[in-house]
């Protein structure tokens, strides 16, 4: 007996982690709580309830989902072909077009989340990207393609970053809550776009002053289409940019000192400050990076297939908001965001396209996506409930109390 032998001290039970912090930090924390199970379950429950809505309108939900599945081109995997004469192939290319945008809008929300902030401003940041890409894409028509595209993409991305950076700056300096300021910035961006593209606006088209639509961007600014034809809204190379963004997101967060700081601030700003990290700088920077993703989304849409923006299209768009559901369902991870973007891309295209009224109520068709989106956001917010359901299921099976399995220290 030496008298001093810490090795003989006892196994101790872990202290409960205090779950204090901002709403976003708490959500982000919970997001890590149950692995893949919770998001999968969340989606399943949302689809089930969406099915109930279909049922309530007197249609068979299984048939409806089957048709949405086919309409999204997901049946392509059963008979893959690159020939766009195949309906499945065409549908898939359109689904992937939506997925491209949603990946980036999802990352715009996810990155801020990882720094403990809730970026609701994806929509506004996306429009800032649209505006800048359209303006630069229409101007400089004499440039050669590569520099022209790069100019548009970089400028739109930076513009999105600056726009979101305003919210980060306000939070860091005067403590304005980012949820409020990003919502306000959304409206500013949307109304500025309405004015720019509307009657007599500076970016309205030059050929027909009675139509509130912008000019088409120059051919030199259009992104190459690799599946389908440019005139028929084919799939552009922006998809690979979005996939690359997923990789960048992952590496930035997990393999750089910048990402270390972002995560430390997101989990525990007090500990981050104690560690010598400049919390304010990180809030601004993380918001800006978030906005960059959304700005990039706007640029790719403009250069990839929209080519112009109509005033009437502005209030209809909601990709920025869908990004919230994508990030939440994807648990703010790169892989999760990619998968969730594919799911929502498929829903978005599958429910708005070619569904026949014997299968689904026509008024319901496009709105089903938004119902499911809403349910998913709701359930992710209430994932305690989902975990509870999951645990009681396990309890039934093993007749054991739903206690977290704690390893002995």
């Amino acid at each position: 007996m030496t008298g001093i032998d810490p090795k003989s001290s006892l196994p101790e039970s872990p202290e409960e982690a205090s779950e204090t912090g901002t709403l976003a930090a708490r959500i982000s924390l919970k997001q890590r709580g149950g692995g893949i199970v919770v998001p999968a379950l969340t989606a399943v429950v949302a689809f089930l309830m969406g099915g109930l809505v279909v049922l309530a309108t007197g249609h068979n939900p299984l048939l409806a989902y089957h048709d949405i599945f086919d309409g999204a081109g997901l049946n392509w995997v059963f008979h893959p072909t690159t020939n766009l004469a195949s309906t499945a192939a065409y549908n898939l290319s359109q689904t992937l077009l939506q997925t491209t945008t949603l990946i980036l809008c999802g990352l715009a929300v996810a990155f801020a989340f990882r720094c403990g902030m809730f970026n609701i401003g994806g929509q506004g940041q996306y429009f800032v990207g649209i505006i800048v890409a359209n303006w630069l894409g229409v101007s400089f028509a004499s440039m050669s393609p590569l520099p022209h595209i790069l100019l548009c993409v970089v400028a739109a991305t930076v513009a999105g970053a600056l726009w979101a950076g305003i919210a980060g700056f306000l939070k860091a300096t005067v403590g304005a809550h980012e949820v409020i300021s990003t919502i306000m910035l959304n409206w500013i961006a949307i109304w500025v776009a309405e004015w720019l593209f509307g009657d007599g606006g500076p970016l309205q088209n030059s050929s027909n002053p009675s139509v509130p639509v912008s000019n088409d961007i120059a051919d030199s600014a259009k992104l190459p289409v690799f599946w389908g034809q440019q005139e028929l809204q084919g799939l552009h190379v922006g998809l690979f940019v979005a996939l690359g963004a997923l990789v960048v997101f992952y590496l930035l967060l997990n393999r750089t000192t910048l990402g270390y700081e972002v995560r430390a601030v997101g989990f525990n700003p007090d500990a981050a400050a104690y560690g010598g990290i400049n919390v304010r700088k990180n809030l601004i920077r993380a918001m800006a990076i978030s906005g960059a993703f959304a700005g990039l989304a706007g640029a790719l849409d403009m250069l990839g297939y929209l080519y112009h923006e109509g005033q009437n299209d502005i209030p209809v768009s909601s990709v920025g908001f869908l990004g919230i559901a994508v990030a939440l369902l994807g648990r703010n991870t790169a892989v999760g965001t990619g998968l969730a973007a594919l799911l929502f891309g498929a829903l978005l295209f599958g429910t708005t396209h070619g569904l026949n009224s014997t299968v689904i109520q026509p008024e319901l068709a496009g709105n089903l996506t938004y119902i499911i989106q809403g349910l998913i956001v709701l359930f992710v917010g209430a994932d305690v409930l989902i975990l509870y359901l999951w645990n009681s299921r396990r309890k039934l099976r093993r007749s054991r109390p739903p206690l977290p399995a704690r390893e002995p220290a």
Binding site: G3, L10, P11, E12, S13, A17, Y274
Partner: protein, 507 residues
């Protein structure tokens, strides 16, 4: 007093996946006694009480209440049977009044409405009967932690509790509030209530309990009367070996001044001046202890010295270099190590791995990173070495810090701070919430750092800790240093100064 058992728990066993939390545990509580349940963190105290309170179902064993076999399927059933529990973390609604909180769920009604007057009256009656002073009309968010605890006790009494479980009740209290709590416990005992007092603090158990049951590794070790028990004997029963309750240290060998604070003024978040003109020096190779009741400026003083709060006035000099514009980063670079008073809020990112936490100050420096690119493998390697050196148990470098026990979390913090080879080490409440074994370890480590020639500033609310570790003691009261002691000094003397009494009465 008749030795009648109001409660017996016999042969209780409870197993969780991978852990046997309770194994043949026996507990007998007599009517009108204060029965302490003593054990280290993880010894099975909370599991046993949760079984009694109906939150867990035992795998084996029997509960006898007033001699009758009872089993509670839920807390509601336990409450109905006369068992009340005051948890360590209060379950009160801050925006409601004291009375509303107490009657919540069993409200007296005036037809369909809450009979507010009736509720207040009953609460007042109850608080007079048991000597628990608290204003029934006050909002819970406006009252002190000690008063909130009284509300919790009243809540249990209101529901007819006969056996009252207090789960580590002094952990959240100041020494004064703890004293008041002990008086309350005394008067509850007078009126025939039985109290189960869960603790791992030896001195308070010896002060308040009639009998003491010691648990270790999920088993009952012994039940002893207070008479004849000593801190040493209880510690031995708790830990299972001899424990050094006294810190062994040689005389200090002070060298150069490494930390000098002069005329420091610091304001808190509410803009109140919490540090008012403090000056002191800490030399290499000595431990300077700062004693004081919580809230007398300790937090603000530490924050200023570590660069987490900008002082209003005054100078801080580290190793001869005067720091004019402080920031946490600058202080770290000057060689100030800091074991923060709240390891979970400030010392660790609980969701980070141990390796990431160990790199919290130098994640951006070689070898952890180069050109902004992280090398996680190097972090892991270093963490692996420190885990071994500091005997962190319960996981490897990739384990989430939040999954460790309190003692091991603190070891991670200490490992990180000491491994940086700081010139000045600031240890704020380094052993708060830890059990005997971990405290022993940390005290030894702090003395070792002193002997290596570091300047150690120790801030603690535990007077024992200050007295046993410090070479020099400063007493902080209302933001001013009101006493300084080297050599032998009595606890009473410092205690009086901590309350601000010395200056005024001595004059």
């Amino acid at each position: 007093m008749a030795a009648e058992n109001v409660l017996e728990m016999r042969g209780i066993r409870k197993e969780f996946p991978g852990v046997i939390a309770n194994d043949d545990v026996n507990l007998e509580v007599r009517r009108g006694e204060v029965h302490a349940l003593l054990g280290e963190n993880g010894a099975g105290k909370s599991t046993l009480m949760n079984i009694l309170y109906g939150l867990y179902k035992p795998d084996a064993g029997q509960i006898l209440l007033d001699g009758k076999p009872s089993a509670f399927g839920s807390a509601r059933e336990a409450i109905q049977a006369g068992i009340g529990m005051v948890h360590q973390h209060f379950m009160l609604i801050p925006v409601m009044t004291v009375a509303e909180n107490i009657v919540l769920g069993v409200e007296p009604r005036d037809h369909l409405l809450l009979d507010e007057r009736g509720a207040e009256r009953r609460v007042r009656d109850l608080s007079e009967r048991f000597n628990l002073a608290v204003d029934p009309t006050a909002l819970v968010r406006d009252i002190t932690v000690g008063q909130q605890q009284r509300v919790e006790i009243l809540k249990a009494l209101y529901r007819g509790a006969d056996v009252l479980i207090l789960d580590e009740p002094t952990a959240v209290l100041t020494p004064q509030e703890a004293g008041e709590l002990f008086e309350i416990v005394g008067s509850l005992k007078e009126s025939g209530k039985s109290i189960i007092f869960i603790s791992h603090k030896l001195n308070e158990v010896l002060e308040i309990a009639d009998r003491i049951t010691v648990l270790r590794r999920g088993r009952t070790i012994e039940t002893v009367p207070r008479e004849g028990a000593t801190e040493e004997s209880l510690a031995r029963a708790m830990v299972g070996r001899e424990v050094l309750l006294r810190v062994e240290k040689g005389p200090a060998n002070p060298g150069d001044v490494l930390l000098a604070v002069e005329n420091l003024h610091v304001r808190d978040d509410r803009d109140l001046e919490k540090v008012r003109g403090v000056s002191f020096e800490v030399r290499a190779g000595e431990i300077v202890g700062i004693a004081g009741v919580d809230g007398n400026g300790q937090t603000e003083l530490i924050d200023a010295i570590t660069g987490l709060r900008v002082p209003e006035d005054g100078t801080i000099t580290v190793a001869g270099k005067e720091v004019d514009r402080t920031g946490a980063r600058e202080m770290l670079d000057l060689g100030v190590g800091h074991i923060p008073e709240d390891r979970q809020r400030r010392g660790l990112v609980l969701e980070f791995s141990i390796a990431e936490n160990i790199a919290l100050h130098d994640y951006a420096d070689a070898p952890n990173a180069k050109w902004g690119w992280l090398y996680p493998r190097r972090m892991v390697e270093r963490a692996g070495r420190l885990i071994k050196d500091f005997d962190v148990r319960g996981g490897g470098p990739l384990t989430r810090a939040g999954g460790l026990s309190g003692g091991n979390q603190q070891k991670v913090v200490v490992a990180r701070e000491i491994a940086r080879n700081p010139k000045v080490l600031i240890a704020a409440q380094p052993t708060r919430g830890l059990d005997v074994g971990a405290i022993e370890y940390l005290h030894r480590r702090i003395v070792e750092e002193r002997d290596k020639g570091r300047a150690v500033l120790l801030i603690s609310l535990e007077l024992d800790e200050i007295l046993s570790l410090s070479d020099r003691i400063l007493v902080l009261f209302e933001g001013e240093v009101v006493g300084e002691h080297t050599g032998a000094v009595s606890e009473q003397e410092i205690g009086l100064e901590m309350l601000g009494a010395s200056d005024r009465t001595a004059a």
